[in-house]
């Protein structure tokens, strides 16, 4: 892999340069130095206590969310790796489904569940009497954290189990023989050995929550603010480009420093890889552990989704399929009407393009970064995640305005934007497995007559295929659920499922709400179908490993 043709390896850099660095620099330049000279006057606003408080809160909630998510995921990952039990892959898929839902829908699901008039509060009132103070979580830090855990559970679970399942248990057995058990086994052996995957997951979650937007605005009700939200308000509501650019720069620099730090922490751990078969849980203690963890995951992940499904089926007179039926009826003859089949088709098409592009570019990027001398490139591929979407969106308008790259209004930008977001996930999913491949495996293959391409195809690819599967699922999910970029450049003909949901929710009328919920359920079903297909493809492509 290390000797893959050089031009091929440069492809991800070219992609990043063209669709990230160039637009970003263009908009930053326009914001900070509209006449060619740096305007410092406006920038002084950046140092106001308001913005500093925002930065502190941004970091604080991101750290808290990351630690909380990893802590909750570890037992789940352990159970999923250690034992095979019925429903294991269902739980994994379920956690990923959470990742796909637009924030508006998640908010609706949460409020149906724990809102002031939601299921939980109804229960509380029934059991504790009508005057029991109902649970009020809207606009609190608690609901922000819950939502972040809900969203990011899958990120951590997939990355950690993807790595862990490939790991040999030798060291763990050795430690056990030496007398380690209980928390010492965790603290001194398991966690340090899992470090590459833990770090990769933590880095992603931190960035994701650091740039949290929808959750802060909708569930946090803007009682708190993150840099990402501030940038949006400055750029869109106030059109204050200098401050928006300054804040973006602050956000990116902060992430860059953090990522450089992360890259240093990252280390190569070439470990024995193996495809281990997990046993069934035995004895009451193991069964209890499995059921406790599955139970927790079901409550956290499935309850909101079920609440959603229930809402999509409930009309004024009980259960009804009316909302689903109404989806394909065009009552108003609108030019913007999109039948659900078409929306599903559009979504799948973009998701397919995104997955293909993100996987290819991600693999190339990961092998590029893998060389020691190229480590500094690693943070670069993470930065798109850390960049305010609206800043980059405006950057596209400013930078990509000349033929042949006048892509400002082109739907090609949709999979490109999705790929930018998906790429860090793919790279992070592959990296730990790639690092764990001992160099002698590749050298061996090479001496045996495998060309660099064959080495890559026969050794690297199968050995990272589990990481690749994780990456593919993320790329697919990100594209299916994303609606910012899709709304940013929407034509009636290429509306995706989330765009349709968003449109339905934008109009009054009970029927629209019901249809939006129905469409959300269709989104979930389409995604589940996608997961099944992707897992089949992976299994067929790499044998049992």
């Amino acid at each position: 892999m290390a000797r893959l043709a050089r031009p091929l390896l440069l492809l991800p850099l070219l992609f990043l340069g063209l669709f990230y660095v160039w637009p970003l620099l263009s908009i930053l330049a326009l914001g900070l130095a509209p006449d060619g000279t740096l305007e410092t006057g406006q920038l002084r606003q950046l140092l106001s206590p308001w913005h500093l408080n925002t930065l502190v809160f941004t970091v604080f909630q991101a750290l808290l969310s990351t630690v909380l998510t990893i802590a909750l995921v570890l037992p789940a990952a352990w159970v999923c790796v250690r034992w095979s039990f019925p429903g294991r892959s269902l739980l994994l898929s379920l956690s990923t489904l959470a990742f796909v839902l637009p924030t508006v829908v998640v908010a609706a699901a949460f409020s149906a569940l724990i809102g002031s008039g939601g299921l939980v509060n109804d229960l509380l009132r029934q059991t504790l009497g009508p005057n029991a103070a109902p649970l009020r979580l809207e606009g609190t830090l608690a609901i922000i954290l819950i939502a972040h855990v809900f969203y990011n559970f899958a990120v951590a679970l997939r990355i950690i189990t993807g790595f862990w399942a490939n790991r040999s248990t030798l060291q763990e057995d050795a430690a056990r023989v030496l007398g380690a058990q209980g928390w010492r086994l965790w603290w001194e052996i398991r966690l340090p050995l899992l470090r590459p995957a833990l770090l990769a997951a933590a880095a992603l979650i931190f960035i994701f929550t650091f740039t949290s937007f929808g959750v802060i605005i909708i569930l946090g009700e803007l009682r708190f603010s993150t840099l990402e939200v501030e940038i949006y308000l400055q750029a869109v509501n106030l059109f204050n480009l200098p401050v928006a650019a300054g804040l973006s720069l602050l956000q990116i620099s902060f992430m860059l420093v953090l990522m450089l730090f992360y890259t240093r922490l990252r280390q190569r751990l070439p470990l024995a890889l193996r495809a281990a078969q997990a046993p069934r849980p035995r004895g009451w203690r193991q069964c209890l552990a499995v059921s406790a963890v599955s139970g927790f995951m079901l409550v956290l992940l499935a309850a909101p989704l079920l609440a959603l499904a229930l809402r999509s089926l409930s009309g004024a007179e009980g259960l009804t399929g009316a909302w689903y039926a109404a989806l394909s009826r065009d009552v108003r003859g609108s030019v913007l009407f999109v039948p659900p089949v078409q929306a599903v088709g559009n979504s799948l098409f973009y998701a397919f393009c995104t997955t293909a592009m993100a996987l290819v570019l991600g693999l190339l990027a990961a092998s590029l970064i893998q060389r020691r001398s190229r480590r500094w490139l690693d943070p670069l591929f993470m930065l798109p995640l850390a960049t305010s979407a609206v800043t980059l969106g405006f950057g596209f308008i400013v930078a990509l305005d000349e033929p042949p790259l006048d892509l400002r209004a082109s739907p090609v930008l949709i999979p490109i934007a999705h790929t930018l977001v998906a790429l860090p996930f793919v790279v992070r999913s592959i990296q730990p497995s790639l690092d764990a491949i001992s160099p002698s495996l590749r050298e061996s293959a090479s001496v045996l007559g495998a060309t660099p391409w064959q080495v890559w195809r026969q050794i690297d690819l199968p050995l990272v295929s589990r990481g690749l599967l994780v990456g593919a699922i993320f790329a697919f999910t990100i594209s299916m659920g994303e609606f910012g970029a899709s709304l940013f450049i929407a034509r009636p003909a290429n509306a995706t499922i989330p765009v349709v949901i968003y449109r339905l929710l934008g109009q009054p009328g009970t029927m629209n709400m019901g249809q939006a919920m129905a469409m959300s359920v269709i989104l979930l079903l389409t995604c589940s179908l996608g997961f099944i297909v992707i897992e089949r493809v992976q299994r067929a492509g790499s044998g049992a490993f």
């Binding site: 040999s168 024995a272 890889l273 193996r274 495809a275 001992s438 002698s440 495996l441 050298e443 061996s444 293959a445 090479s446 001496v447 045996l448 007559g449 495998a450 060309t451 660099p452 064959q454 080495v455 026969q458 050794i459 199968p462 050995l463 790499s542 044998g543 490993f545």
Partner: protein, 330 residues
């Protein structure tokens, strides 16, 4: 067949290979022997094409190999950790090189090679479930199967226990001789080297100290390093020897080869006899293994059981040295 000329390699500040020249004949089994860190593995990797030399050239049958890519060299290399592909079965591992080189009858060759290493019916096994010895055999079969023009083995037996190693050594040599395979193997164990190799290159600090047959190396070590590494003892100076016996030997480094040492009953005129003290004795099958101290120098040698009787340690003894076994070192 293989010629290395003036090969140099440097990693950062350390000169790993310093002007190494080596020649290997077709069908010959050559062993690179030396302490760890002497550059033997690097030399192997350079021959395989996994590293590029800073200077020097590598020729195979007269053709310069510098620009030939690793996968086009048609060599075999067995790694110290075996590097078995964890996602393939035993048979898939062995067939890998055959498939890469697009050889015909892959299945036939694979099973032939597996029988050759005594793993006939284990083709479908998962490589992760094999014992150390089995893994070693699979790795060997994998390197052998494509009939490489040159097979290289990096510490092939290092991770095996002594008993298994002693059993496998002659087996290995027999396989190589039977197949007429040209082999370069690397080890730090001199017994392993002597048991397997036609010729041994002793390496130290990036240089080849001596390159010869095992017998010649033992009988005529070229310098102090070789002598010490082979366990033949340290050289003494001419003046020291002159002071112990009324003879004059010239030279700075004289090796009193243990093969020429015996205990003597009394001072004999025909041979050189030194006064010393028996420091240690241990029983070793047909021989005693003795350590005798003479004027600050210690000598270790084997003394046949049927020669003169051996006294208790601490006793004064006469050490007899054959003049022919006093070697002048570089």
């Amino acid at each position: 067949m293989l010629q290395l000329r003036h090969v140099c390699k440097r990693f950062g500040n350390s000169q790993v290979l310093d002007d190494v020249s080596l020649e290997v004949q077709a069908g010959e089994i050559v062993c690179l022997l030396g302490p760890s860190g002497c550059g033997k593995t690097t030399l192997l990797r350079i021959i395989a094409g996994l590293e590029a030399p800073d200077h020097g050239e590598i020729r195979l049958q007269g053709v310069d190999f510098e620009d030939v890519a690793v996968h086009e060299r048609n060599f075999g290399l067995m790694f110290q950790d075996y590097a078995l592909f964890p996602h393939m079965t035993v048979a898939q591992n062995v067939a890998f090189g055959l498939r890469m080189r697009r050889q015909d009858s892959v299945a036939q060759l694979t099973s032939d090679t597996l029988s050759l290493v005594g793993m006939k019916d284990m083709g479908q096994r998962d490589v992760n479930s094999l014992s150390g010895g089995e893994q070693q055999r699979v790795a060997l079969a994998r390197s052998l199967a494509p009939r490489p023009s040159l097979l290289m083995l990096d510490e092939p037996l290092a991770s095996l226990d002594a008993g298994l190693r002693d059993r496998l050594l002659p087996e290995l040599r027999q396989i190589f001789v039977e197949t007429g395979q040209t082999v370069i193997t690397v080890t730090h164990d001199q017994q392993e080297a002597s048991a397997i190799a036609d010729r041994i290159a002793i390496m130290n600090a990036g240089r080849i100290e001596q390159y010869d047959t095992p017998q010649a190396l033992y009988a005529r070590p070229r310098n102090a390093f070789v002598a010490e590494f082979l366990g033949l003892g340290s050289p003494v100076r001419g003046e020291w020897l002159a002071a112990q016996a009324a003879v004059t030997f010239y030279g700075e480094h004289l090796l009193l080869h243990p093969a020429g040492m015996r205990l003597a009953n009394a001072a004999e005129d025909s041979a050189l006899v030194l006064d010393g003290t028996l420091v240690q004795r241990s029983y070793e099958g047909e021989n005693w293994r003795l350590t005798v101290r003479v004027a600050g120098e210690a000598f270790r040698f084997r003394h046949p059981l049927d020669a003169c009787p051996v006294p208790e340690p601490g006793t004064k003894v006469w050490l007899r040295i054959e003049r022919d076994w006093i070697l002048r070192l570089e």
